[in-house]
């Protein structure tokens, strides 16, 4: 009989039990078996209309068992972590493999990694009433910013995720990830015009995040955007030089270039970057990185969801494609090491090659010079999201805060603008990159799995990009 035991109040699986379950999983002849155990506690608070609406505590506990047999992966999960249930789940996962009696002796060795991301104040050490105060502080800061602010929505989230991974290669590791985030959406109304503003910083960090970035400042920023956009004119349509501000602007690279650089897209031949390693794929000014070791980065960790150590990977250097992002399976098929990009949403999901914190490196230009050297153009201060076809690289991004640039100066704000184009094409049109790199948090969705991913870039300029607006500029 194997028992569960506690470390710091969190249940983990015993080594011998893991060995037994892996052996059972391989009994019918798989090449590789893995146990992924997850125990997550999360807390969420929402506030709208100045009222705290929901206070939620969630406990997610479960185990996913993965077997790779040739090119086939089979996956089964359970939220019952008793020995009997785990062995049964292992049999279900193994049933996809061809029958042959296989006895595997698994020798697990516990490996320990030094934590790369310092957590000073664990969210579960903070009183819920304190968290409610932060939410209300963000709410009133946004409301007090301007009388035009008519509605404010605040969302607070923290989670402590403990994972443990054991596999038939002898790996036996664990990690703890702590995420904190506070986001504010505000609505400003003046005359008949309504505008929204959103700001939601988050990090792989404990509650000290809200000393670094105060709840009040988050509320103020969300309100500022909404109020600024009240006076915005409808965006023009057409093609113009476009300057994209640092920070969340990096979502463009993430969507349009990052996804096609994930190894599963390469393997299936659906990526525009297939067979282009060593080739010029972007402006020679551009260097792009994916790194899960950014200290306390939103998409950071110590090990990935397959137990591979976190690392920093240069994707593009001086415009030349260097490497793709791999998980264990894709790496094995390509005959190489994983880049530590195997990630999953929860124990209910199998890992896929995914981005962590993906950003464009600092360039040499001063961000002010980028604007002042642009005679006529468009400044995308904030992008609010977008969509891209991974096969073609065609993208659409929404500009939530945008300005016209006239004679090297920021001019009037414009609303309703979208940037459209083709990712790989756009990367060739970068002609200036600033030195003000900033990272921002986002939630990335792929194959039905949503995971935290950091995006980032310095201020940069595209020689030309199509802007879709609500105002038609007389057709050429």
């Amino acid at each position: 009989m194997y028992m569960l035991f506690y470390i710091g109040g969190i249940i983990l699986l015993e080594q011998e039990l893991c060995q037994k379950v892996i052996a059972k999983a391989l009994e019918t002849g798989g090449d590789f078996a893995e146990i992924y155990y997850e125990n997550k506690i999360r807390q969420a608070i929402t506030c709208e209309d100045g009222k705290v609406e929901r206070i939620i505590t969630g406990y997610d506990l479960g185990v996913g068992i993965r077997i790779i047999h040739g090119k086939t992966i089979s996956y089964a999960y359970t939220d019952d972590v008793s020995e009997a249930a785990l062995l049964e789940t292992a049999i279900i996962a193994g049933s996809a493999a061809k029958h042959q009696n296989n006895t595997t002796i698994i020798d697990l060795t516990k490996r320990k990694y030094n934590p790369l991301h310092v957590i000073k104040i664990s969210p579960n050490q903070v009183d819920k009433a304190e968290k409610v105060k932060w939410v209300l502080a963000a709410d009133s800061a946004a409301r007090n910013y301007s009388t035009s602010i008519k509605q404010v929505m605040v969302g607070y989230n923290d989670s402590i995720q403990k994972i443990q991974i054991a596999n038939s290669n002898g790996l036996f590791v664990e990690d703890e990830r702590v995420l904190s985030r506070l986001s504010v959406q505000s609505i400003a109304i003046k005359n008949d015009v309504m505008q929204t503003g959103y700001y939601g910083p988050g990090k792989h960090m404990g509650s000290e995040l809200f000393q670094e970035i105060t709840p009040e400042s988050i509320g103020v920023e969300a309100a500022r955007i909404a109020v600024t956009m009240l006076d915005a004119k409808p965006a023009p349509s057409g093609s113009l030089p476009v300057v994209i501000s640092n920070g969340f602007g990096g979502v463009l690279f993430h969507e349009a270039c990052g996804h096609p650089l994930e190894a599963d897209a390469i393997q299936k031949g659906t990526s525009v970057y297939k067979d282009l390693v060593g080739k010029q794929v972007a402006s020679s000014l551009l260097t792009a990185i994916d790194s899960s070791i950014v200290p306390n980065g939103w998409g950071s960790y110590n090990i990935d969801d397959e137990g591979q150590k976190a690392q920093s990977t240069v994707l593009i250097k001086d415009g030349i494609l260097q490497d793709y992002m791999y998980d264990y399976k894709q790496a094995k098929e390509a005959g190489r090491m994983s880049t530590g990009n195997g990630r999953r949403m929860s124990y209910q999901h199998m890992p896929l090659p995914r981005m962590t914190n993906t950003y464009i490196e600092n360039g040499k230009s001063n961000p002010n010079d980028i604007i002042s050297s642009t005679k006529e153009g468009f400044f995308a201060k904030r992008l609010s999201g977008g969509q891209v076809n991974p096969a073609t690289g065609d993208f659409t991004f929404v500009v939530s805060e945008g300005y016209m640039i006239k004679n090297g100066k920021l001019a009037e704000p414009v609303r309703g603008a979208t940037l459209i184009g083709n990712g790989p094409e756009i990367m060739k049109r970068i002609d200036m990159i600033g030195n003000d790199l900033e990272l921002a948090p986002g939630m990335c969705g792929k194959s039905g799995q949503n995971i935290p991913a950091g995006v980032g870039q310095p201020t940069l300029r595209l020689t030309e990009c199509t802007i879709g607006g609500t105002e038609i500029k007389g057709g050429k």
Binding site: K51, Y59, T72, Y75, A93, S237, K268, G386, A391
Partner: protein, 446 residues
């Protein structure tokens, strides 16, 4: 059920004024094939419990997937603690007990006996059919099969006790067509309550035809033109509208339909319905996430705004009855949401609508509409669009890299024709739309 009742008693004894337990048990399978081999196979049993507590009109919630006795005690206590620090709200509380009518059609009892091999076989056949469909189809990016059997139990301290089972299965395919260094993609899907309901040939044809006809697309010049929306795009507009047609959005002042009840908000031919009892829909259930019986709500009738969707909270606030639109999983509190939401059929055929266009754009895909491209408050939208140009009622060239922009409220008034081909397409929830035509939208291209 008796076992669940003891936790209600436990909560009441420990300080809850009202308590509710939502128990969910699901069986899931997911299969993916690639190049005629099974690439991934997932199967799972999952269950969990969500506990909602009201104390002094404050609401607290906690959930767990760990159903051991200790864990359930911990979760109830956590929910009680959350309720105590939640400020009071006079409209908080459980609905009064109401009887519900079972909907046996949503559960096919035979489905559980379908051999997994049969599912794999169907999927392999779907991939093969797509691969052989046309020589321009060069890649099958994804071929997947998924199914789910769910059992829900809901029980609360006001005496409601309900349970139901439902199931669905689904086949989807995503393909790429290539010509001269250009790649275009297309998707198709089929779903039902039994594997025999699935029509893989239709799904494959839909996916392949989309990818093929989009090859060679070019931007058109910026202009205002008539636009015909494919059903798959129509449902995305329904999704955007649904966010405004609920009472929460109206009460919080972020609805396009604020103060518009009983007024003309759309062209006469437009009727929009939310129907929690629609048999063909995937969001059909006998009662909602709070134990209120599901209902059919006529939101817009012949262009006039008739009603909104309500859950218990918003209904109490407005002094009306809940429409049974509280949706949830065990991991979440009930929230006001659509069930099966659709634009009602018109009278014309799709063909006659296309024929009526002398110079216009048939939009087959839009990007960005549900990811921020439509402002839910102002109704302004600007989205990337792909499709085909129509000249004198006939398709001409493929169109890509253009945006279409306008205001969704203006667009509702400019819907001039609606086809009779409504279908629920469960891509983002259970939304349905027929093909429809809109006049006077802005296209920006080159």
């Amino acid at each position: 059920m008796d076992k669940i009742e003891q936790w209600i008693d436990y909560a009441l004894k420990n300080g809850a004024d009202e308590a509710e337990i939502f128990y969910e048990n699901t069986l899931n399978n997911n299969i993916e094939v690639y190049n005629q081999e099974v690439e991934a196979l997932t199967s799972a049993k999952a269950k969990g419990m969500g506990i909602r507590i009201f104390i002094n009109k404050g609401m607290g919630f906690a959930y767990t997937s760990d159903l051991s006795k200790d864990s359930i005690h911990r979760v109830i206590n956590e929910a009680i603690e959350n309720a105590k620090i939640c400020p009071p709200d006079e409209y908080n509380g459980l609905p009064d007990k109401q009887a519900y009518v079972e909907i046996p059609e949503i559960y096919n009892e035979d489905y559980i006996n379908v051999d997994p091999k049969e599912k794999i076989q169907l999927l392999l056949e779907m991939e093969k059919t797509a691969k052989l469909y046309n020589k321009k189809i060069t890649k099958i990016i994804n071929a997947s099969y998924a199914d789910q059997i769910t059992n829900i139990q809901l029980i609360n301290s006001k005496g409601f006790k309900g349970q139901f089972s439902s199931n669905y299965c689904y086949g989807g395919i995503y393909v790429a067509a290539e010509k001269e260094n250009e790649m275009q993609t297309g998707g198709g899907m089929t779903f039902g309550r039994h594997i025999d309901d699935l029509n893989i040939n239709e799904a494959v044809a839909d996916a392949c035809n989309t990818a093929i006809v989009l090859l060679g697309g070019q931007p058109v010049k910026s202009q205002k033109a008539e636009i015909v929306f494919d059903k798959k795009v129509g449902i995305l507009f329904m999704y955007v509208l649904s966010n405004s047609l609920n009472a929460e959005a109206v009460q919080k002042g972020r609805s396009l339909f604020k103060d518009k009840l009983s007024t003309q908000v759309a062209n006469n031919n437009v009727s929009i319905i939310d129907d929690g009892k629609y048999i063909k829909g995937l969001a059909t259930s006998p009662f909602d996430g709070e134990g209120v019986p599901s209902s059919k709500t006529q939101l817009i009738k012949d262009g006039t705004l008739k009603a909104l969707m309500y859950d218990t909270y918003t209904a109490k606030k407005a002094g009306v009855k809940s429409t049974g639109n509280a949706s949830r999983s065990y991991r979440s509190t009930p929230s006001l949401s659509t069930t099966n939401f659709y634009l009602e059929n018109g009278t014309e055929s799709k063909d006659s609508i296309l024929k009526s266009v002398s110079d216009g754009f048939y939009v087959m895909e839009v990007s960005g509409l549900v990811t921020g491209g439509a402002n839910p408050i102002t109704g302004d939208f600007s989205v990337g669009a792909t499709g085909r140009w129509i000249k004198n009622g006939e398709f001409t060239t493929a169109v890509r890299e253009v945006t279409i922009a306008g205001n969704i409220m203006t667009m509702l008034k400019n819907i001039t024709s609606i086809a009779n081909d409504m279908e629920i397409i469960p891509i983002i929830g259970s939304f349905g739309s027929p093909t429809f035509k809109v006049v006077d939208l802005a296209i920006s291209g080159k």
